[in-house]
Protein backbone atom coordinates (compact mmCIF):
# COMPACT_ATOMS: atom_id res chain seq x y z
CA UNK A 1 0.00 0.00 0.00
CA UNK A 2 2.56 2.57 1.08
CA UNK A 3 4.92 2.32 -1.92
CA UNK A 4 2.12 2.81 -4.42
CA UNK A 5 1.02 6.18 -3.09
CA UNK A 6 3.85 8.42 -4.31
CA UNK A 7 3.50 7.06 -7.83
CA UNK A 8 -0.20 7.75 -7.84
CA UNK A 9 0.35 11.24 -6.54
CA UNK A 10 2.98 11.93 -9.15
CA UNK A 11 0.79 10.79 -11.96
CA UNK A 12 -2.56 12.33 -11.07
CA UNK A 13 -2.28 14.78 -8.21
CA UNK A 14 0.66 17.09 -8.69
CA UNK A 15 0.22 19.78 -6.07
CA UNK A 16 -2.64 19.90 -3.66
CA UNK A 17 -3.68 16.25 -3.42
CA UNK A 18 -6.70 16.72 -5.68
CA UNK A 19 -7.57 18.83 -8.69
CA UNK A 20 -10.18 21.41 -9.49
CA UNK A 21 -13.05 19.95 -11.47
CA UNK A 22 -12.96 21.50 -14.94
CA UNK A 23 -16.35 22.38 -16.43
CA UNK A 24 -16.99 21.09 -19.94
CA UNK A 25 -16.68 23.66 -22.74
CA UNK A 26 -19.90 24.03 -24.73
CA UNK A 27 -19.15 22.76 -28.25
CA UNK A 28 -20.73 24.61 -31.18
CA UNK A 29 -20.68 23.73 -34.90
CA UNK A 30 -18.37 26.71 -35.47
CA UNK A 31 -15.67 25.32 -33.16
CA UNK A 32 -16.26 21.55 -33.39
CA UNK A 33 -12.88 20.93 -35.16
CA UNK A 34 -11.02 22.61 -32.29
CA UNK A 35 -12.53 20.20 -29.77
CA UNK A 36 -12.17 17.13 -31.99
CA UNK A 37 -8.45 17.93 -32.31
CA UNK A 38 -8.21 18.57 -28.56
CA UNK A 39 -9.51 15.04 -27.99
CA UNK A 40 -6.50 13.85 -30.07
CA UNK A 41 -4.09 16.05 -28.12
CA UNK A 42 -3.64 18.66 -30.86
CA UNK A 43 -4.04 22.42 -30.43
CA UNK A 44 -5.70 24.14 -33.38
CA UNK A 45 -5.90 27.86 -34.01
CA UNK A 46 -7.74 29.78 -36.68
CA UNK A 47 -5.68 31.45 -39.39
CA UNK A 48 -6.97 34.05 -41.84
CA UNK A 49 -5.86 33.54 -45.43
CA UNK A 50 -6.78 37.11 -46.38
CA UNK A 51 -4.64 38.96 -43.85
CA UNK A 52 -2.31 36.05 -43.07
CA UNK A 53 -2.47 36.04 -39.31
CA UNK A 54 -3.78 33.95 -36.45
CA UNK A 55 -6.51 34.99 -34.03
CA UNK A 56 -7.93 33.59 -30.82
CA UNK A 57 -10.50 32.45 -29.67
CA UNK A 58 -11.32 30.83 -33.03
CA UNK A 59 -13.97 32.39 -35.26
CA UNK A 60 -15.32 31.80 -38.77
CA UNK A 61 -15.01 35.50 -39.58
CA UNK A 62 -11.57 37.08 -39.06
CA UNK A 63 -11.71 39.76 -36.32
CA UNK A 64 -8.88 41.70 -38.01
CA UNK A 65 -9.95 42.02 -41.67
CA UNK A 66 -13.52 40.63 -41.36
CA UNK A 67 -12.81 38.21 -44.18
CA UNK A 68 -14.46 34.78 -44.26
CA UNK A 69 -11.52 32.73 -45.51
CA UNK A 70 -10.29 31.44 -42.16
CA UNK A 71 -8.79 27.96 -41.79
CA UNK A 72 -7.71 25.68 -38.96
CA UNK A 73 -3.97 25.23 -38.44
CA UNK A 74 -2.15 23.17 -35.87
CA UNK A 75 -0.17 25.23 -33.36
CA UNK A 76 3.20 24.16 -32.01
CA UNK A 77 1.79 24.13 -28.47
CA UNK A 78 4.76 26.14 -27.24
CA UNK A 79 4.23 29.48 -25.57
CA UNK A 80 5.20 32.01 -22.93
CA UNK A 81 3.27 33.11 -19.86
CA UNK A 82 2.00 36.69 -20.48
CA UNK A 83 0.29 37.02 -17.09
CA UNK A 84 -1.21 34.79 -14.41
CA UNK A 85 -2.82 34.76 -10.99
CA UNK A 86 -3.20 32.09 -8.31
CA UNK A 87 -6.80 31.94 -7.15
CA UNK A 88 -6.39 31.12 -3.45
CA UNK A 89 -9.70 31.70 -1.69
CA UNK A 90 -11.31 28.63 -3.20
CA UNK A 91 -11.36 24.96 -2.12
CA UNK A 92 -8.66 24.04 -4.67
CA UNK A 93 -6.23 26.85 -5.54
CA UNK A 94 -5.42 27.08 -9.25
CA UNK A 95 -3.43 29.21 -11.67
CA UNK A 96 -5.28 31.10 -14.37
CA UNK A 97 -3.07 32.56 -17.07
CA UNK A 98 -2.77 34.18 -20.44
CA UNK A 99 -0.22 32.31 -22.56
CA UNK A 100 1.17 33.82 -25.77
CA UNK A 101 1.69 31.09 -28.36
CA UNK A 102 4.63 31.02 -30.76
CA UNK A 103 2.08 31.80 -33.45
CA UNK A 104 1.49 35.21 -31.82
CA UNK A 105 -1.92 34.90 -30.21
CA UNK A 106 -2.58 35.02 -26.48
CA UNK A 107 -5.08 32.59 -24.94
CA UNK A 108 -6.67 32.09 -21.54
CA UNK A 109 -5.67 28.85 -19.84
CA UNK A 110 -4.49 27.22 -16.64
CA UNK A 111 -0.89 26.47 -15.66
CA UNK A 112 -0.64 22.93 -14.25
CA UNK A 113 1.86 20.24 -13.26
CA UNK A 114 4.04 22.60 -11.25
CA UNK A 115 4.48 24.40 -7.96
CA UNK A 116 1.95 27.23 -8.26
CA UNK A 117 4.21 29.57 -6.30
CA UNK A 118 7.02 29.09 -8.82
CA UNK A 119 5.02 30.37 -11.81
CA UNK A 120 6.51 33.48 -13.43
CA UNK A 121 5.66 35.83 -16.30
CA UNK A 122 7.94 35.05 -19.23
CA UNK A 123 8.17 31.36 -18.37
CA UNK A 124 8.22 28.91 -21.33
CA UNK A 125 5.32 26.48 -21.31
CA UNK A 126 4.01 23.57 -23.38
CA UNK A 127 0.40 22.58 -23.99
CA UNK A 128 -1.10 19.60 -22.13
CA UNK A 129 -4.71 18.52 -22.46
CA UNK A 130 -6.84 17.96 -19.38
CA UNK A 131 -10.19 16.17 -19.06
CA UNK A 132 -13.36 18.07 -18.30
CA UNK A 133 -16.59 17.03 -16.66
CA UNK A 134 -18.39 15.28 -19.51
CA UNK A 135 -16.90 17.28 -22.38
CA UNK A 136 -13.80 17.31 -24.59
CA UNK A 137 -10.41 17.97 -22.96
CA UNK A 138 -9.18 21.57 -22.78
CA UNK A 139 -5.71 22.97 -23.49
CA UNK A 140 -3.72 23.83 -20.38
CA UNK A 141 0.00 24.49 -20.10
CA UNK A 142 2.89 23.08 -18.08
CA UNK A 143 6.45 24.39 -17.73
CA UNK A 144 8.46 23.37 -20.82
Amino acid sequence: MAPAEPALEKENKPVSGFERKVPAPPVTPETQPFWSAAAEGRLLIKWCRSCDQAHYYPRSICPFCFGDTTEWREASGRGTIYSYSIMRRVPVPYAIAYVTLEEGVTMMTNIVDCDLDAIRIGQQVQVVFRPTEGGPPVPMFAPA
Binding site: R20, V22, P23, A24, P25, P26, V27, T28, E30, T31, W35, A54, H55, Y56, Y57, P58, R59, C62, P63, F64, Y82, S83, Y84, S85, I86, M87, R88, R89, V90, Y94, I96, A97, Y98, T100, G104, V105, T106, M107, M108, T109, N110, I121, G122, T132, V138, M140
Partner: protein, 389 residues
Protein backbone atom coordinates in the same frame (compact mmCIF):
# COMPACT_ATOMS: atom_id res chain seq x y z
CA UNK B 1 -23.36 67.82 -32.58
CA UNK B 2 -22.04 68.01 -29.05
CA UNK B 3 -23.69 67.37 -25.70
CA UNK B 4 -21.69 70.15 -24.08
CA UNK B 5 -24.11 72.23 -22.04
CA UNK B 6 -27.15 70.43 -23.47
CA UNK B 7 -28.12 68.71 -20.21
CA UNK B 8 -27.80 69.05 -16.44
CA UNK B 9 -27.75 66.52 -13.64
CA UNK B 10 -30.56 67.84 -11.46
CA UNK B 11 -31.20 64.96 -9.08
CA UNK B 12 -29.05 62.39 -7.31
CA UNK B 13 -29.76 59.71 -4.74
CA UNK B 14 -27.75 56.93 -3.14
CA UNK B 15 -29.78 54.38 -1.21
CA UNK B 16 -28.61 54.31 2.44
CA UNK B 17 -29.00 50.54 2.74
CA UNK B 18 -26.04 48.21 2.35
CA UNK B 19 -28.01 45.01 2.99
CA UNK B 20 -31.57 44.80 1.71
CA UNK B 21 -32.95 41.45 2.84
CA UNK B 22 -36.37 43.00 3.43
CA UNK B 23 -36.71 44.69 0.04
CA UNK B 24 -37.38 43.48 -3.50
CA UNK B 25 -35.21 44.49 -6.43
CA UNK B 26 -38.02 46.41 -8.14
CA UNK B 27 -38.79 48.16 -4.86
CA UNK B 28 -35.18 49.34 -4.56
CA UNK B 29 -35.30 50.75 -8.13
CA UNK B 30 -38.47 52.65 -7.26
CA UNK B 31 -37.12 53.91 -3.92
CA UNK B 32 -34.00 55.37 -5.52
CA UNK B 33 -36.11 56.90 -8.30
CA UNK B 34 -38.25 58.67 -5.69
CA UNK B 35 -35.11 59.81 -3.89
CA UNK B 36 -33.50 61.37 -6.95
CA UNK B 37 -36.73 63.04 -8.12
CA UNK B 38 -37.23 64.50 -4.61
CA UNK B 39 -33.65 65.74 -4.66
CA UNK B 40 -34.26 67.50 -7.97
CA UNK B 41 -37.62 68.92 -6.93
CA UNK B 42 -39.41 66.99 -9.68
CA UNK B 43 -42.11 64.34 -9.66
CA UNK B 44 -42.59 60.96 -11.30
CA UNK B 45 -44.97 62.56 -13.79
CA UNK B 46 -42.21 64.87 -15.04
CA UNK B 47 -40.18 61.86 -16.24
CA UNK B 48 -40.36 61.32 -20.01
CA UNK B 49 -37.15 59.31 -20.48
CA UNK B 50 -36.06 56.18 -18.63
CA UNK B 51 -32.65 54.50 -18.51
CA UNK B 52 -31.62 51.27 -16.80
CA UNK B 53 -29.21 48.37 -17.35
CA UNK B 54 -28.88 44.65 -16.77
CA UNK B 55 -29.58 44.88 -13.05
CA UNK B 56 -33.25 45.74 -13.67
CA UNK B 57 -35.52 42.71 -13.19
CA UNK B 58 -37.64 40.93 -15.79
CA UNK B 59 -37.78 42.72 -19.10
CA UNK B 60 -35.60 45.49 -17.72
CA UNK B 61 -36.86 48.89 -18.74
CA UNK B 62 -40.29 47.52 -19.59
CA UNK B 63 -40.72 45.79 -16.23
CA UNK B 64 -39.54 48.83 -14.30
CA UNK B 65 -41.64 51.27 -16.33
CA UNK B 66 -44.57 49.01 -15.51
CA UNK B 67 -43.77 48.83 -11.76
CA UNK B 68 -43.17 52.56 -11.44
CA UNK B 69 -46.08 53.59 -13.65
CA UNK B 70 -43.82 55.53 -15.98
CA UNK B 71 -45.20 57.06 -19.14
CA UNK B 72 -42.09 57.82 -21.17
CA UNK B 73 -41.32 58.62 -24.79
CA UNK B 74 -37.67 57.57 -24.73
CA UNK B 75 -35.91 54.50 -23.29
CA UNK B 76 -32.32 53.24 -23.28
CA UNK B 77 -31.11 50.03 -21.67
CA UNK B 78 -27.45 50.18 -22.71
CA UNK B 79 -25.62 47.47 -20.79
CA UNK B 80 -21.88 47.72 -20.15
CA UNK B 81 -21.83 46.26 -16.65
CA UNK B 82 -20.98 48.65 -13.84
CA UNK B 83 -20.15 51.53 -16.18
CA UNK B 84 -23.64 51.51 -17.78
CA UNK B 85 -24.95 54.44 -15.73
CA UNK B 86 -22.07 56.74 -16.68
CA UNK B 87 -22.93 56.02 -20.31
CA UNK B 88 -26.63 56.55 -19.52
CA UNK B 89 -25.89 60.14 -18.46
CA UNK B 90 -24.21 60.77 -21.81
CA UNK B 91 -27.01 59.06 -23.73
CA UNK B 92 -29.60 61.01 -21.75
CA UNK B 93 -27.81 64.22 -22.70
CA UNK B 94 -27.84 63.13 -26.34
CA UNK B 95 -31.54 62.31 -26.18
CA UNK B 96 -32.32 65.65 -24.53
CA UNK B 97 -30.22 67.50 -27.11
CA UNK B 98 -32.15 65.70 -29.85
CA UNK B 99 -35.48 66.62 -28.30
CA UNK B 100 -36.39 63.02 -27.47
CA UNK B 101 -37.00 63.74 -23.77
CA UNK B 102 -36.66 66.52 -21.19
CA UNK B 103 -36.42 64.71 -17.85
CA UNK B 104 -34.45 61.46 -17.91
CA UNK B 105 -34.46 59.06 -14.98
CA UNK B 106 -31.60 56.56 -14.50
CA UNK B 107 -31.88 53.81 -11.88
CA UNK B 108 -29.65 51.08 -10.51
CA UNK B 109 -30.34 48.54 -7.78
CA UNK B 110 -29.02 45.19 -6.62
CA UNK B 111 -29.00 42.83 -3.66
CA UNK B 112 -26.02 40.45 -4.00
CA UNK B 113 -25.52 40.33 -0.20
CA UNK B 114 -29.13 39.40 0.49
CA UNK B 115 -28.87 36.74 -2.20
CA UNK B 116 -25.56 35.42 -0.86
CA UNK B 117 -23.77 35.76 -4.20
CA UNK B 118 -20.08 34.77 -4.21
CA UNK B 119 -19.38 37.77 -6.38
CA UNK B 120 -15.65 37.73 -6.76
CA UNK B 121 -14.52 34.15 -6.44
CA UNK B 122 -16.89 32.12 -8.60
CA UNK B 123 -16.91 32.01 -12.39
CA UNK B 124 -19.85 33.60 -14.09
CA UNK B 125 -21.19 31.46 -16.92
CA UNK B 126 -22.65 33.67 -19.62
CA UNK B 127 -24.01 30.61 -21.46
CA UNK B 128 -23.05 28.49 -24.43
CA UNK B 129 -24.09 31.15 -26.96
CA UNK B 130 -21.45 33.55 -25.65
CA UNK B 131 -18.56 32.88 -28.07
CA UNK B 132 -15.83 33.30 -25.44
CA UNK B 133 -17.34 30.89 -22.90
CA UNK B 134 -15.91 27.61 -24.30
CA UNK B 135 -12.45 29.16 -24.36
CA UNK B 136 -12.56 30.80 -20.92
CA UNK B 137 -15.11 29.30 -18.54
CA UNK B 138 -13.33 25.92 -18.12
CA UNK B 139 -10.27 27.76 -16.77
CA UNK B 140 -12.07 29.34 -13.84
CA UNK B 141 -12.10 33.05 -14.68
CA UNK B 142 -13.50 35.03 -11.75
CA UNK B 143 -13.87 38.74 -11.21
CA UNK B 144 -10.88 38.80 -8.89
CA UNK B 145 -8.42 36.66 -10.85
CA UNK B 146 -9.13 38.58 -14.07
CA UNK B 147 -8.28 41.93 -12.54
CA UNK B 148 -5.39 40.21 -10.75
CA UNK B 149 -3.84 39.24 -14.09
CA UNK B 150 -3.93 42.90 -15.14
CA UNK B 151 -2.26 43.85 -11.86
CA UNK B 152 0.35 41.10 -12.22
CA UNK B 153 1.30 42.30 -15.68
CA UNK B 154 1.47 45.96 -14.56
CA UNK B 155 3.78 44.96 -11.72
CA UNK B 156 5.96 42.96 -14.13
CA UNK B 157 6.12 45.58 -16.85
CA UNK B 158 6.38 48.80 -14.83
CA UNK B 159 7.68 47.78 -11.41
CA UNK B 160 4.45 48.78 -9.69
CA UNK B 161 4.32 47.45 -6.11
CA UNK B 162 1.58 46.08 -3.86
CA UNK B 163 2.34 48.90 -1.43
CA UNK B 164 1.64 51.47 -4.15
CA UNK B 165 -1.66 49.77 -5.01
CA UNK B 166 -2.48 49.75 -1.30
CA UNK B 167 -2.31 53.57 -1.19
CA UNK B 168 -5.51 53.66 -3.27
CA UNK B 169 -7.38 51.74 -0.59
CA UNK B 170 -5.76 53.85 2.13
CA UNK B 171 -7.01 57.05 0.46
CA UNK B 172 -10.53 55.62 0.08
CA UNK B 173 -10.57 54.67 3.76
CA UNK B 174 -9.54 58.17 4.82
CA UNK B 175 -12.64 59.44 3.01
CA UNK B 176 -14.99 56.69 4.17
CA UNK B 177 -14.42 57.48 7.85
CA UNK B 178 -16.57 60.60 7.33
CA UNK B 179 -19.41 58.78 5.54
CA UNK B 180 -21.93 57.44 8.05
CA UNK B 181 -23.44 55.16 5.37
CA UNK B 182 -20.12 53.59 4.32
CA UNK B 183 -19.84 49.84 4.81
CA UNK B 184 -16.20 50.10 5.95
CA UNK B 185 -15.35 53.21 7.98
CA UNK B 186 -12.04 52.23 9.58
CA UNK B 187 -8.96 54.03 8.33
CA UNK B 188 -6.44 51.47 7.09
CA UNK B 189 -2.71 51.62 6.44
CA UNK B 190 -0.56 50.29 3.61
CA UNK B 191 0.53 47.49 5.97
CA UNK B 192 -3.09 46.59 6.68
CA UNK B 193 -3.71 46.16 2.96
CA UNK B 194 -0.61 44.17 2.04
CA UNK B 195 -1.01 41.95 5.12
CA UNK B 196 -4.69 41.21 4.46
CA UNK B 197 -5.34 37.69 3.07
CA UNK B 198 -4.27 37.07 -0.52
CA UNK B 199 -7.38 36.42 -2.63
CA UNK B 200 -5.79 36.03 -6.04
CA UNK B 201 -2.17 37.11 -6.48
CA UNK B 202 -1.33 39.97 -6.30
CA UNK B 203 -4.70 41.23 -5.04
CA UNK B 204 -5.36 41.04 -1.30
CA UNK B 205 -8.73 41.20 0.38
CA UNK B 206 -8.32 44.95 0.95
CA UNK B 207 -7.47 45.52 -2.73
CA UNK B 208 -11.06 44.45 -3.50
CA UNK B 209 -14.23 46.51 -3.37
CA UNK B 210 -17.06 45.79 -0.98
CA UNK B 211 -20.15 43.77 -1.88
CA UNK B 212 -23.31 45.69 -1.02
CA UNK B 213 -27.02 45.84 -1.68
CA UNK B 214 -28.79 49.05 -2.53
CA UNK B 215 -28.64 51.30 -5.52
CA UNK B 216 -28.93 54.84 -6.74
CA UNK B 217 -30.58 57.10 -9.24
CA UNK B 218 -29.87 60.17 -11.35
CA UNK B 219 -32.14 62.71 -12.99
CA UNK B 220 -30.78 64.39 -16.12
CA UNK B 221 -32.75 67.34 -17.47
CA UNK B 222 -32.70 69.89 -20.25
CA UNK B 223 -31.23 73.32 -19.43
CA UNK B 224 -34.61 75.07 -19.21
CA UNK B 225 -35.76 72.58 -16.59
CA UNK B 226 -32.50 72.89 -14.64
CA UNK B 227 -32.87 76.65 -14.48
CA UNK B 228 -36.38 76.30 -13.05
CA UNK B 229 -35.19 74.17 -10.12
CA UNK B 230 -33.82 75.43 -6.80
CA UNK B 231 -30.70 73.28 -6.77
CA UNK B 232 -27.03 74.05 -7.54
CA UNK B 233 -26.60 73.33 -11.23
CA UNK B 234 -24.27 70.62 -12.55
CA UNK B 235 -23.75 70.69 -16.29
CA UNK B 236 -22.71 67.80 -18.54
CA UNK B 237 -19.87 69.07 -20.73
CA UNK B 238 -18.23 65.99 -22.22
CA UNK B 239 -18.46 62.24 -22.44
CA UNK B 240 -16.76 59.28 -24.06
CA UNK B 241 -17.46 55.56 -24.18
CA UNK B 242 -15.44 52.64 -25.52
CA UNK B 243 -15.40 48.88 -25.27
CA UNK B 244 -12.06 47.18 -24.92
CA UNK B 245 -11.72 43.46 -25.56
CA UNK B 246 -9.16 40.80 -26.39
CA UNK B 247 -8.52 42.19 -29.85
CA UNK B 248 -8.47 38.81 -31.56
CA UNK B 249 -5.82 37.51 -29.20
CA UNK B 250 -3.46 40.51 -29.32
CA UNK B 251 -3.99 40.94 -25.61
CA UNK B 252 -2.45 43.86 -23.70
CA UNK B 253 -3.56 44.11 -20.08
CA UNK B 254 -1.63 47.27 -19.27
CA UNK B 255 -4.32 49.69 -20.42
CA UNK B 256 -8.10 50.01 -20.41
CA UNK B 257 -10.71 51.49 -22.73
CA UNK B 258 -10.15 54.77 -20.89
CA UNK B 259 -7.40 55.48 -23.43
CA UNK B 260 -10.26 56.06 -25.89
CA UNK B 261 -13.16 57.25 -23.73
CA UNK B 262 -10.97 59.75 -21.85
CA UNK B 263 -9.65 61.77 -24.82
CA UNK B 264 -13.15 61.82 -26.36
CA UNK B 265 -14.59 63.29 -23.16
CA UNK B 266 -11.78 65.80 -22.63
CA UNK B 267 -12.01 66.92 -26.24
CA UNK B 268 -15.77 67.44 -26.10
CA UNK B 269 -15.53 69.28 -22.77
CA UNK B 270 -12.60 71.39 -23.93
CA UNK B 271 -10.65 70.74 -20.73
CA UNK B 272 -7.41 68.96 -19.80
CA UNK B 273 -6.64 66.57 -16.94
CA UNK B 274 -4.96 69.47 -15.10
CA UNK B 275 -8.31 71.34 -15.06
CA UNK B 276 -10.07 68.55 -13.14
CA UNK B 277 -10.49 69.32 -9.42
CA UNK B 278 -12.08 66.03 -8.37
CA UNK B 279 -12.32 62.53 -9.88
CA UNK B 280 -14.65 59.61 -9.21
CA UNK B 281 -12.77 56.61 -10.55
CA UNK B 282 -14.37 53.19 -10.74
CA UNK B 283 -12.66 51.15 -8.04
CA UNK B 284 -13.69 47.53 -8.33
CA UNK B 285 -10.09 46.88 -7.31
CA UNK B 286 -7.10 49.07 -6.55
CA UNK B 287 -5.56 48.16 -9.91
CA UNK B 288 -8.64 49.46 -11.74
CA UNK B 289 -7.99 52.94 -10.35
CA UNK B 290 -4.27 52.90 -11.08
CA UNK B 291 -4.62 51.86 -14.73
CA UNK B 292 -7.52 54.28 -15.28
CA UNK B 293 -5.63 57.29 -13.89
CA UNK B 294 -2.77 56.55 -16.28
CA UNK B 295 -5.10 56.06 -19.23
CA UNK B 296 -6.96 59.31 -18.54
CA UNK B 297 -3.66 61.17 -18.61
CA UNK B 298 -3.36 62.16 -14.95
CA UNK B 299 0.12 60.64 -15.07
CA UNK B 300 2.31 58.85 -17.59
CA UNK B 301 1.66 55.20 -18.45
CA UNK B 302 3.55 53.09 -15.95
CA UNK B 303 3.89 55.89 -13.39
CA UNK B 304 0.55 55.24 -11.69
CA UNK B 305 2.14 53.54 -8.71
CA UNK B 306 4.20 56.59 -7.86
CA UNK B 307 1.29 58.93 -8.59
CA UNK B 308 -1.14 57.32 -6.13
CA UNK B 309 1.41 56.96 -3.32
CA UNK B 310 1.83 59.04 -0.19
CA UNK B 311 -1.77 60.16 0.01
CA UNK B 312 -1.91 61.88 -3.38
CA UNK B 313 -5.57 60.84 -3.79
CA UNK B 314 -6.65 62.00 -0.30
CA UNK B 315 -8.81 65.14 -0.22
CA UNK B 316 -7.00 67.99 1.48
CA UNK B 317 -3.68 66.13 1.29
CA UNK B 318 -2.88 65.21 -2.31
CA UNK B 319 -3.12 66.78 -5.73
CA UNK B 320 -6.03 64.70 -7.06
CA UNK B 321 -8.81 63.95 -4.55
CA UNK B 322 -10.75 60.84 -5.60
CA UNK B 323 -13.82 58.92 -4.43
CA UNK B 324 -14.50 61.15 -1.44
CA UNK B 325 -17.50 59.02 -0.40
CA UNK B 326 -15.16 56.09 0.19
CA UNK B 327 -15.90 54.66 -3.26
CA UNK B 328 -16.48 51.01 -3.99
CA UNK B 329 -13.45 50.07 -1.93
CA UNK B 330 -15.03 51.25 1.34
CA UNK B 331 -18.46 52.79 0.91
CA UNK B 332 -20.76 51.10 -1.55
CA UNK B 333 -20.78 48.96 -4.71
CA UNK B 334 -24.51 48.38 -5.06
CA UNK B 335 -25.42 45.32 -7.10
CA UNK B 336 -21.72 44.90 -7.99
CA UNK B 337 -22.11 47.96 -10.20
CA UNK B 338 -20.30 51.10 -9.11
CA UNK B 339 -20.77 53.54 -11.98
CA UNK B 340 -23.83 55.33 -10.71
CA UNK B 341 -22.41 56.16 -7.29
CA UNK B 342 -19.35 57.58 -9.06
CA UNK B 343 -21.56 60.19 -10.73
CA UNK B 344 -23.43 60.83 -7.47
CA UNK B 345 -20.29 61.79 -5.52
CA UNK B 346 -18.97 63.94 -8.39
CA UNK B 347 -22.27 65.86 -8.39
CA UNK B 348 -22.06 66.28 -4.60
CA UNK B 349 -18.58 67.74 -5.02
CA UNK B 350 -19.66 70.17 -7.76
CA UNK B 351 -22.65 71.27 -5.67
CA UNK B 352 -20.47 71.73 -2.60
CA UNK B 353 -22.57 69.10 -0.83
CA UNK B 354 -19.85 66.53 -0.10
CA UNK B 355 -18.99 65.92 3.56
CA UNK B 356 -17.20 69.07 4.82
CA UNK B 357 -14.13 67.02 5.74
CA UNK B 358 -13.69 65.84 2.14
CA UNK B 359 -15.26 68.69 0.14
CA UNK B 360 -12.80 69.93 -2.47
CA UNK B 361 -12.40 73.72 -2.45
CA UNK B 362 -13.49 75.55 -5.60
CA UNK B 363 -14.57 72.28 -7.18
CA UNK B 364 -15.71 73.65 -10.54
CA UNK B 365 -14.83 70.76 -12.89
CA UNK B 366 -15.14 67.08 -12.03
CA UNK B 367 -14.79 63.76 -13.83
CA UNK B 368 -16.52 60.43 -13.26
CA UNK B 369 -15.25 57.26 -14.88
CA UNK B 370 -16.72 53.76 -15.08
CA UNK B 371 -15.12 50.43 -15.96
CA UNK B 372 -17.74 47.70 -16.36
CA UNK B 373 -17.21 44.02 -17.12
CA UNK B 374 -13.75 42.57 -16.74
CA UNK B 375 -10.54 44.53 -17.20
CA UNK B 376 -8.70 41.45 -18.50
CA UNK B 377 -11.23 40.17 -21.03
CA UNK B 378 -13.86 42.66 -22.19
CA UNK B 379 -15.04 45.81 -20.50
CA UNK B 380 -16.87 49.03 -21.18
CA UNK B 381 -15.11 52.28 -20.31
CA UNK B 382 -17.10 55.45 -19.81
CA UNK B 383 -15.86 58.94 -19.00
CA UNK B 384 -18.09 61.86 -18.01
CA UNK B 385 -16.98 65.44 -17.38
CA UNK B 386 -19.19 67.93 -15.57
CA UNK B 387 -18.88 71.50 -14.39
CA UNK B 388 -20.86 74.03 -12.39
CA UNK B 389 -23.53 75.33 -14.72
Amino acid sequence: MTIKGKAYIAGIYEHPTRKAEDKSLAQLHAEVARGALDDAGLTRDDVDGYFCAGDAPGLGGLSMADYMGLKVRHMDTTETGGSSYVIHVAHAAEAIAAGKCTVALITLAGRPRAEGTATGTTSRNYGAASPDVPFEFPFGPTVVNQYAMAAMRHIYQYGTTSAQLAWIKVAASHHAQHNSHALLRDVVTVDDVVNSPMISDPLHRLDCCVITDGGGALVVVKPEVARSLRRPRVRVIGAGEAPKHQMGGKIDLTYSGAVWSGPAAFSEAGVKPADIKYVSIYDSFTITVLITLEDLGFCEKGHGGKFVSDGNLISGVGTLPFNTDGGGLCNNHPGNRGGLTKVVEAVRQLRGEAHPRVQVRNCDVALAHGTGGSLATRHGSATLIMDRG
